[in-house]
């Protein structure tokens, strides 16, 4: 063969290779990402979260390593990917690559321990790591929990370090800062119970998060076994008015992110076709959001108020006709979106009826219920008539609401450590009372605060339990309630009123809401934990499932009950994401490459 012929042949081979590499078959379809994670000591690491995101997608997918350190993703669309692995106490590891159709893309990474893991800590880990040498220390943690984590995770606060004067300035602002986020004017008076503890909080915070950095870290164990056999997909929720921030909790080294662009979504609900709806009380030009999990596409639906502004919603539920009901935070009413007619309806409320509160549920007759300031109220969906049912004792605030098997409505009064039931047949309201927590170092001031000052879900006395949101088993006999400040799951027997309290696996989790799936499992989201927690009533065991984002601040949890087991959905209120948690079957579990 002459030299010229040889050169031409080589050129032809190169051209064919290029063509094959960029062929439609290689660019489409799915590929598999897999590998192994080891520590710097060469040992496999179990329970490490490994995340992958394609440049052209609006969601990230995460899996966890098994006991051999192996991980594998379900098939992912081809594309240009970033892959990152992280664990608290270690520097993260990253890789970037092109994933081709039909390919197995293997990435073995090593995680190196770091000395200062402060910014990576969850709220729970921060509180675990602070001094607890004396009863006074323990008491102050409870004072902090009772007053400083109702609106945000503890990590948001405790990742900062100020002197006592600096903390005093922050706490003073917080005594007047409403949960709505609206800057307080000079007319806004301080929250009386938070104000009572202001000086103690400033001094304590100045001591534990001041001049001296954390040097001892207490961290949560990484997930093992079943808890590591999940696939978490986190969908971005783009804002119509500004781009999302790159700091969104996906890199734990950055700490708990700002929620300046966040605070959407608050509640989620999955309709009969698997579309995920979310309520939003912050983002402009959105009343309800609609997420299509097949594509990640988010559609904003707007209902305008009388001034032409987007109506704010806080909670929602989808009825048996796939109509989306929500609490209208602007007007204090219920609204309903009819998907078929593509139309919003506002149910006007007479002035004689109180404003609809911030959480809601739908009973078996299709009537929405919500708490109001001092009780619960129902809308007759057919007639548009509101009826309210006052609590036996008022002035204790209200928060979550749920329906039991007999269509009775149950709601919480966090300020009074009470759960109230409205009898569906008679309309009579009766309460279940909780004993206060046993706190070491409790003072006379704490006992007097409980008696004389107004407490609520977001401020209170250290021994307060603060039942918050709840879920009823519509096919069972129990109401399940998240005890927000005492780290427990409360079970109320709806027939006998007998109660049982189950302590959560980790103190300082702060369970915010409870919900019951079709298989009777009870699920909790916890504001400090960055995990969701399953409780199996048959075995009375808890399982924690780690989430890939730092600073999730989940306020609600729901299910797609069409799958077996049910798929869990959780909105990350701080960082504009909604997460789907799927459970791997035995055949799809990792362990082999």
């Amino acid at each position: 063969m002459s030299k010229a012929t040889w050169l031409l042949s080589a050129l032809a081979i190169v051209l064919v290779a290029i063509a094959l590499g960029t062929s439609p078959a290689a660019q489409s379809g799915t590929g598999t990402i897999l590998g192994n994670i080891k520590g710097a000591d060469g040992k496999p690491m179990e329970g490490v979260v490994v995340s992958a995101r394609a440049a052209d997608k609006s969601f990230a997918t995460s899996v966890f390593t098994d006991r051999l350190g192996n991980y594998s993703f379900p098939g992912l669309d081809t594309g240009k990917y970033q892959l990152w692995a992280q664990a608290v106490g270690f520097d993260g590891a990253r890789a970037g690559f092109q994933l081709a159709g039909g390919a197995k893309s293997e990435h073995n990474l090593t995680l190196t321990p770091i000395v200062d893991m402060t910014r990576q800590l969850t709220g729970t880990e921060f509180l675990m790591s602070l001094p607890e040498n004396t009863p006074a220390d323990v008491r102050m943690k409870h004072v902090f929990v009772s007053n400083c984590i109702g609106c945000h995770t503890a990590s948001w606060v405790l990742q900062n370090r100020f002197d006592a004067a600096g903390w005093g300035a922050i706490v003073s602002l917080m005594t007047r800062f409403p949960s709505s986020g609206k800057p307080p004017g000079p007319e806004v008076k301080p929250d009386e119970i938070m104000n009572a503890y202001r000086a103690e909080l400033a001094i304590w915070l100045g001591r534990v998060r001041g001049a001296q950095p954390l040097t001892t870290f207490k961290t949560l164990p990484r997930p093992t076994g079943e808890a590591a056999q999940i696939v978490v997909t986190e969908f971005d929720l783009p804002r119509p008015d500004m781009p999302l921030m790159t700091q969104n909790g996906s890199d734990w080294n950055e700490g708990t992110p700002s929620r300046y662009v966040g605070r959407a979504a608050h509640d989620v609900w999955v309709d009969s076709k698997g579309i995920v709806w979310f309520a939003d009380d912050m983002v402009p030009q959105r009343t309800l959001g609609r997420l299509d999990p097949q594509t990640g596409k988010v559609t904003d639906l707007v209902m305008k108020d009388k001034d032409g502004k987007s109506i704010s919603t806080h909670s929602l539920a989808v009825d048996a006709q796939d109509r989306v009901w929500a609490t209208n935070g602007t007007d204090g009413t219920f609204i309903m979106y009819d998907q078929q007619a593509q139309k919003f309806t506002n149910f006007d409320r007479p002035d004689t009826e109180p404003r609809v509160g911030g959480t809601m549920v739908i009973d078996s007759k299709g009537n929405p219920w919500a708490p109001y300031g001092d009780g619960a109220m129902k809308l007759d969906a057919a007639t548009g008539t509101y009826t309210h049912y006052a609590a036996p004792v008022t002035g204790k605030g209200t928060y979550g609401i749920a329906i039991d098997k007999s269509d009775n409505a149950w709601y919480s009064q966090p300020g009074g450590d009470r759960v109230v039931m409205v009898d569906a047949k008679t309309g009579e309201s009766t309460a279940v009372l909780l004993e206060p927590q046993l706190i070491p170092g409790l003072t006379d001031k704490d006992r007097e605060s409980a008696e004389k000052l107004k407490a609520g879900p977001n401020s209170g006395y250290p021994q307060q339990k603060a039942p918050r949101r709840m879920g009823g088993d519509r096919d069972g006999d129990y109401m399940w309630v998240a005890e927000f400040k005492s780290d427990a799951l409360l079970r109320i027997d709806t027939r006998t009123r007998e109660i049982k309290e189950y302590p959560l696996p980790h103190k300082y989790s702060q369970p915010y809401a409870a919900a019951v799936a079709k298989d009777h499992t009870v699920w909790l989201n916890c504001i400090n934990l960055d995990r969701v927690v399953k409780f199996d009533p048959k075995t009375e065991k808890f399982t924690e499932y780690m989430l890939p984002t730092r600073g999730t601040e989940i306020r609600h949890i729901q299910f797609d009950n069409r799958t077996d087991p049910p798929t869990v959905w959780a909105p990350f209120d701080r960082v504009n994401k909604i997460a789907r948690i799927q459970f791997r079957t035995a055949g799809a579990q990792t362990g082999t490459k």
């Binding site: 100020f162 300035a169 800057p183 987007s310």
Partner: protein, 125 residues
């Protein structure tokens, strides 16, 4: 074409290539910034932005709640370090570290490197 002709043509081509290359180089913009330095700047600003939003946005950015916008509770920082002299920059840095009656001092919260990143970002406001 004869071999001699091929050689001559090749030399002409090579000569033209050298002339074209020289012209191209002299017409280029000044040498590009060191790519490593450019990437560091971008990373510095990203880190600084993160710290700004985590630490400063609560008071120094206006809030947006649905379709309503609110003025910041504290002073807006637009232009606070625009064209700042080294002395001005040092003063602002110390102000942030020490705080006031209404603003906490950040001397414990940020390391010297984090202050560098934050200041670099604030300069862009």
């Amino acid at each position: 074409m004869t071999m001699n002709g091929v050689r001559k043509f090749s030399f002409v081509l090579m000569g033209a290539y050298v002339i074209a290359l020289s012209a191209s180089m002299s017409a280029q913009a000044p040498p590009a910034v060191n790519p490593a330095a450019a990437a560091a700047d971008k990373d510095t600003l990203k880190r600084g932005e993160t710290l700004f939003y985590q630490g400063c946005s609560l008071c120094h950015l206006g809030r947006i709640i649905k379709d309503d916008k609110y003025q910041p509770m504290g002073p807006a920082l637009t232009g606070v370090l625009k064209d700042a002299t080294p002395d001005r920059e040092a003063d602002v840095r110390q102000f942030i570290q020490m705080g006031t009656l209404r603003m906490p001092g950040w001397k414990y919260a940020f390391s010297p490197k984090e202050f560098d990143d934050l200041i670099a970002y604030v300069k862009t406001l």
